[in-house]
């Protein structure tokens, strides 16, 4: 077995027992990236020299018999929406083509404190806007299960890279599904934590009331290990909550006997691929066999989630992307004649079509005369959505839905029809509006393309969804099947 195929857990054990060296592990991943990334295009920038140096230091520690931290010596990739000191961070946009951050995001600081080795930055839809990576200004990533298809998005480079065994794990960001959707389409595990669980400091802001950083991994257990490293209150992000972080690996193996799982009736409607629906039903039966109690629940607001999201998110996007003024950092157009033109020309050339669309939608729904009808309305519907989840969780321990309505689609298939592309996120956006945690875990294949199911938990109850996902994964082992890269 090539070392790059290892999970975090396996690598931890093999490093601790001196069965392998960090440099060998890093080297195998680098070789894999060099061999496959022309096809997959998961990376925008690499950091190989630094990674090799770090690995050699870890190996010295191993030789001396020193204790290793949880992620020490294990290579990862990072979505290009997360700031990494000294490594160019572009958000996959031309606007930040040469932007080299002077500081690390809090999650990166925490990964480094745990000994993580960063191999490079993962491609995504520019600014996190998209469900396919086709909105990247540097070209799309390709799905390792079928290279003509999209890996999902926006953290598509991260998911594709983990699926292709280029890295052991990656960090993504999720505003409306951007971790879970590509995890579903690439056959890997993606967790969006509760809003307020993981610091957003140093994540390039998209929708500030929705954004969360989370792990994309090969297994559920690895996701728990990364969550242990990145979670917790941060004084640099005042929306992080002062709550003790549990050891997410502790209760994974407790099983799901007696666990009440709610299945929202409104999730199984027109638009859901019948074969995907089938797989979800088989997964539900499996969880029931393992002792879970399945209950149908009502989520009447679910069909309104996407409409609510497409008001709130662009509003926050238009505000957050306002900082790219062509002056303080990022691209500046040299043809500008006056200050106003510095703004309008720099932004015209620095932003791609999708960012422009979202800025303009947000500007419109926030503008005088439309603010009440659109923005305030959406904020009220958001309340109803949150209340409905709260009352559902009075009856059940977690909820189960598809992650994406269909398997991966062909590159170019949806690019001229933004609304159809937006519908990809129909099952994921509502979770961000409610601020609750959700995990996508592989649950089978349609025409050899992976499908994920989504387990949704109570606010700050990542433990229960991890436990259920672990029980399902152990019984089914879809993650053992590897893509062909053809």
């Amino acid at each position: 077995m090539d070392l790059n195929q290892l999970t975090i857990k396996e690598a931890q054990q093999k490093l601790a027992s001196k069965e392998l060296s960090s440099l060998d592990l890093v080297q195998d991943c680098i070789e894999r990236i060099k061999k496959t990334d022309k096809k997959v295009h998961a990376f925008l920038n690499t950091n190989f020299d630094q990674a090799q140096k770090q690995a050699k230091e870890v190996d010295k520690k191993i030789k001396k018999g020193e204790h290793l931290k949880t992620l020490e010596g294990i290579p990862c990739g990072i979505k290009d929406m997360i700031l990494t000191e000294g490594i160019i961070t572009t958000a996959s946009s031309k606007m930040l083509q040469n932007y080299k951050p002077l500081f690390d995001a809090t999650v990166i600081k925490k990964l480094k404190e745990n000994g993580a080795i960063i191999l490079g930055k993962h491609n995504c839809d520019a600014w996190g806007h998209g469900s396919s990576t086709e909105n990247s200004d540097y070209g799309p990533s390709h799905n390792p299960w079928d290279l003509e298809r999209v890996p999902g998005g926006s953290s598509g480079g991260s998911a594709a890279s983990v699926a292709a065994d280029q890295v052991i794990y990656s960090l993504g960001t999720d505003t409306g599904g951007s971790i879970r959707h590509p995890a579903s389409l690439c056959g890997v595990v993606g967790l969006k934590p509760t809003y307020g669980r993981v610091s957003r400091y140093g994540a390039i802001a998209m929708g500030s009331s929705l954004d969360q950083i989370g792990p994309i991994c090969k297994t559920v257990e690895d996701s728990a290990i990364v969550m242990n490293a990145i979670s917790g209150q941060d004084k640099l992000d005042s929306t992080t909550v002062p709550k003790t972080v549990p050891d997410y690996t502790k209760n994974l193996q407790q099983g799901i006997k007696g666990l009440k799982i709610g299945v929202p009736k409104q999730a199984f409607v027109k638009g859901l691929d019948p074969q995907v629906k089938n797989l979800i039903q088989v997964a539900i039966n499996d969880l029931e066999k393992q002792g879970a109690k399945i209950e149908e629940v009502e989520l009447k607001t679910l069909p309104y989630g996407l409409a609510c999201y497409y008001i709130i998110m662009p509003s926050e996007v238009s505000s957050n992307l306002g900082r790219y003024d062509g002056i303080r950092y990022g691209y500046q157009d040299k043809d500008a004649q006056d200050l106003f033109e510095i703004y309008t020309k720099s932004r015209a050339k620095g932003f791609g079509a999708e960012a422009k669309r979202r800025i303009m939608i947000g500007t419109y729904v926030l503008s005088a005369g439309y603010y009440d009808a659109y923005y305030k309305k959406a904020m009220r519907v958001r309340t109803l959505i949150k209340q409905e989840f709260d009352s559902a969780f009075n009856k059940v321990d977690l909820l189960l839905m598809p992650t994406s309505p269909r398997p991966s689609f062909k590159i170019g298939e949806n690019i001229n029809d933004p609304l159809t592309m937006y519908l990809e996120d129909i099952y994921t956006v509502t979770i961000n509006l409610a601020g609750i945690p959700a995990i996508s875990v592989p649950c089978g294949y349609v025409n050899n393309l992976p499908i994920g199911m989504q387990l949704i938990g109570k606010q700050f109850d990542e433990e229960t969804i991890l436990r259920a996902a672990y029980a399902y994964e152990q019984a089914n082992g879809w993650n053992k099947i590897k893509p062909s890269l053809k």
Binding site: Y304, G322, A348, L419, Q459
Partner: protein, 94 residues
């Protein structure tokens, strides 16, 4: 509902985006389609419903009002398109 070219121009100006004529046409169609879609929220009765802007339940998170000296202040200024004497340079406002 279909946005007019004038409406698109107004939004673009507020957004500080210079658009080509082709973009104006394209965005008028695409943004109109999205606005039609989100109009579906009108089916939901929100009479007497409070607004939700954030979901953590946290209120008024304060920090001490203390000045903290950045150790990379000069490098930060150099990230601007143009700078002089540790100041960001740009075109005049008036």
């Amino acid at each position: 509902m279909k946005l007019t070219k004038q409406e698109v121009e107004k939004i673009a100006k507020l957004s500080r985006l210079e658009l080509t004529d082709a973009e104006k046409d394209k965005f008028a169609d695409q943004i109109s389609a999205v606005l039609d879609y989100v109009g579906k929220l009108n089916e939901v009765d929100t009479e007497n419903v409070e607004m939700t802007a954030q979901v953590t339940g946290l209120e008024n998170v304060y920090r001490k009002d203390e000045v903290d000296q950045l150790d990379f202040q000069k490098e930060l200024i150099k990230q601007s398109a143009e700078s002089e004497n540790n100041l960001i340079k740009t075109k005049s406002v008036f």
